[in-house]
Structure formats: C-alpha cells, structure tokens
Amino acid sequence: MDGTRVGKRMIGTQSPVTVGWENIPKVTGGPVKLFVFTWFQPAMLFAMIAFWYYAPNSIAKASTAVGIGIGFKVLLLGLEWVNPRYASWRLTWKELVTDLFYVGLGFTLLNMVSHFIGSDVMAKAIQRHFHRDEFTWFTGLPLLVQALLIALIFDFGQYWMHRGMHNWYPLWLPHSVHHYITQLNINKGAVGNPVELFLIGLGIGGFFDFLPRAVLISGAFGLAIGIYQHINVRFNSPRWWRFLFNTTEHHSVHHSRDFEATRSNFANTFIFIDRIFGTCIDGEAELLGMEGGRRMSIREQMIHPFTEGWKALKERRAMTLSAE
C-alpha cells in the first residue's frame, strides 16, 4: 500500500486511511436530511450550554447531567440507525451487550472504586487543602470563561495522558484493549480494560466542586463534542467545527489498523490541541482494530494488560540473563 504523506509521516501504508476532508464522502439525501445532519452537532452544543447556563439551581446538578447524558445517547443510537457512516459498523445485539456491560461497570464497580480510592478521594483531599476563598479569582470570572478553561485544562491533560499511553509501554498495555474495537458506536468509548478506565476517570472527578454550574457547562462540551468520537453517523460537520473539535472522522483514523495513523488525534474534545503539537490528521478510516481486526472477548479484555505485561517482563529477564 502506498499511503499518503502527511508532514514527515506516511499514513495508510498498512491499512486504508482516507486523508483530507475533500476526499471524505458527504451526507446525501433531501434538504431536510442535509439540514439536520449539518446543523445537529452545533445546535445540540449550543442548546446544552444554554440549558446549563440558565437552568434553575434546583435542577442544575450532577444527577440531571447523568439523565441528559443517557437520553442524548439514546437519541444518538437512533441517528446511528437512520444515517450510518459505514454498514460494517452497524450496531449488532452482541456489540450492544458488550458495550453496555462496560457502561454498567462504569456506573457501578468503577464508580465504587473511584469513590474509595480514586477521583472522589483526590477531590476531597484538594478541598481539605484549599479553601473556596483561594479560588475567588476564578469563580468571579464569567461562567462561560470558567467552563471553557476547565474543559481546556482537562483536555490538555487528557491529550498528554493519551499520548503517553501510545508512547510508554506500561500505559499502552491497559489502553491497547480499547484499540481492539473494530467498529465505532456511541458506547464504544466505555469499552476498555478497567485499569485504563479508572486512570482516565482520575482526571474527570469532582476537582471543581467549588464551581458546580461551570463544571456542568464544561461537561456539556464533553457530551456535545467528545461523544462524537465514537459514533457511526455521517455528519456534514461545518468546517469551523472540524477545525476546532474532535470528530468521528479524526477518531476513526486514530483507531485504524495503520500503526502510524493511530499515533495521531489524541485530544478528547479539542482537536486544535493536536494541530498545535503536530499530531492532527484530518481524514477517516473504515477498517479498525489491531492484529488485522481480531475481536477480543470480554475475558481477554480483562486480563490482556496483565498477561502481556508478564510476557514482556519474562522476555526482558531472559534477555538480561542471556546478556550476562
């Protein structure tokens, strides 16, 4: 395979990757369909920001956000059905069961672990150490500025955490499981080894309990932008949207079977962070996964980082012994 040169890298030499927005298919159909699949994403983003900005205090709380998140995902599952990007990514009963198992783990066991030894504990420690008075310079800013800063700070952290996962073997081991998915659907972001899901959760926890409304608005950025990373829907995302934000096109490149392509598009929400650091590739891919698209069973997903880590340790020990 020839591949396409992007900067100093050759993309798509191992598996097909489409590079360049001009080469990506557009939504086809009547004017209503075109209108919906062009403006759905911006409309939902602005609607969610407006909702959290103006929602009365009685409903502006985390449980409402969880409810909205579930409702929005159900709506997006409907869109996957109506306008799929690829027929080969069509959600099957088995894929839905697998995805929901991981979503269920996130809402239950992982939530419990985070509560006792994860982000909740870290948040409490921070709250004990600092006092609200020390944050008045921040809490006095306009809500939208606070929300944008929170989202940017977290995404900047996520970018480097994710890039670290692709460059440092001990972090790659738990993350690699997520790269065995062979199609993108709305709940695929939850699929991965629990160790990785716990590590990622550390960055999201309630660090900003001092700023409930700003955090809820910043959560809207995650929900109304980041969620499209794993979705099987073709959108005609506006040019400014795909310049600023991560899209399913970007993320499909990241999940492709081409090794060089996977080392791109690390940001969760704001793809311009990748543009700044030279890791952005505008394009898309249909063939996803590792080892030629081998699908991992849930059992293997649970133990893979440990078995592979053990193998690597044994190999290293054998090499050390043979060198001596």
Partner: protein, 193 residues
C-alpha cells in the same frame, strides 16, 4: 444434572426446509460463504457441517455464535437443514443480569462503610457572580448550606439494579432476535438463485 433442561439459554436449535430437490451438498455450498470468515474453522462431511469460531469479527454475520452443527435430514418429501448453535454471548448476557444484582447487593453492604467523617464537613463561602452573568440572566449561585451535590455522590445500588434489568431485557430480546435472524439468514442463503 441434565444440561438439556437449561442449555436453551445458550443454544439455538431449529430447522429450515430445503428447496424441493435440493441436495445436501448444494445446501452446504450455498451456506459456505457464512463459514469462510476470519477465525472460523469447519469440517464438512456428506450430511453434516461442524464449525467453531474464535475471536470472530464484529462484522461476521454469525458473530454471535461460537460453534455448532448443521445436519441435512433427508425426509421423504423434502430435506430439512437442522442446526444446533451455541452462543457464549447469549450465556454472558443471561448471567450479566444476576451479576449486576450481586453488584447491587455488594454496594448496599459496602455503603455502610461510607459514613462521612467530621473533618469532611465543608466550610461554605459564598460563590461570587460575575456582572456579565447577571446581565445575561443566569440564576444566582446556590449559596445555601445544603449540599445537593453530596447526595449525588452517595453510593446507591440503583444503577446496578437498572443494569440488571437492562441485561434481563436484552437477553430476552437477543434470544428471540438472534434465533430469527439466523433462521432468516440460512433460509436466504439456501433459496437465493
């Protein structure tokens, strides 16, 4: 214990009539593409096909099944394809419901150890409001002493109960749906010109 009483949980058994005059060999030839998939191995004899799948792709039309046997039963009038397929995914979904019930019970037990300590009581200081937000009509920050956010963080078994219900429902749907889908797929493959 005779597994026949419970193996309907992960087995799908049914039959499809072949077209009049269709031979077993022709039937298996038509079904052949379904088994020429990555991770699938199969053996064909005159009237039987036995297959097994490992790490089958999501895009495999029979990905929900991990193995099984298909047999041509040569009747007096018409021959019939009988099949017995096994699915770990169906078994997993069936077991996921009680698993989440167990997680719910575990949450109830462990929540007893989750009592707030005295030093976790928060000092409340009023959150300021920026004049721009005031001008745009955003609600005043909630500076009351009660902390609703803390209620959201309490460990409750509710999510686990909901997921248990979801998996019970998914099992019923999957058991019926996958049964019908595979029958329709076999019938379509056998009868297509």
């Amino acid at each position: 214990m005779n597994l026949r009483f419970i193996d309907w949980i992960w087995h799908v058994r049914d039959s499809v009539e072949l077209a009049p005059g269709q031979s077993g060999e022709d039937a298996f030839d038509r079904l052949d593409p379904l088994f020429r998939q990555t991770g699938t191995t199969y053996q064909r004899t005159n009237d039987t096909l036995i297959f097994s799948k490992k790490n089958q792709a999501s895009q495999d039309k029979m990905s929900v099944f991990d193995g099984g046997a298909l047999q041509i039963d040569n009747g007096v009038g018409r021959s019939v394809l009988r099949y017995d397929l096994t699915s770990r995914a169906l078994l997993f979904c069936f077991l996921a419901a009680p698993l989440f019930l167990a997680i719910a019970q575990f949450t109830v037990v462990i929540s007893h150890f989750d009592k707030p300590t005295a030093d976790e009581e928060k000092k409340h200081t009023d959150i300021p409001m920026n004049p721009i937000d005031k001008a745009l009509g955003a609600p005043e920050p909630d500076n009351s002493k009660k902390d609703d956010a803390d209620d959201d963080k309490k460990l409750t078994p509710r999510a686990a109960y909901i997921f248990s219900g979801i998996f019970a429902t998914l099992y019923v749907v999957g058991r019926i749906l996958e049964d019908r889908l595979i029958k329709a797929r076999f019938r379509k493959s056998l009868l297509q010109a």
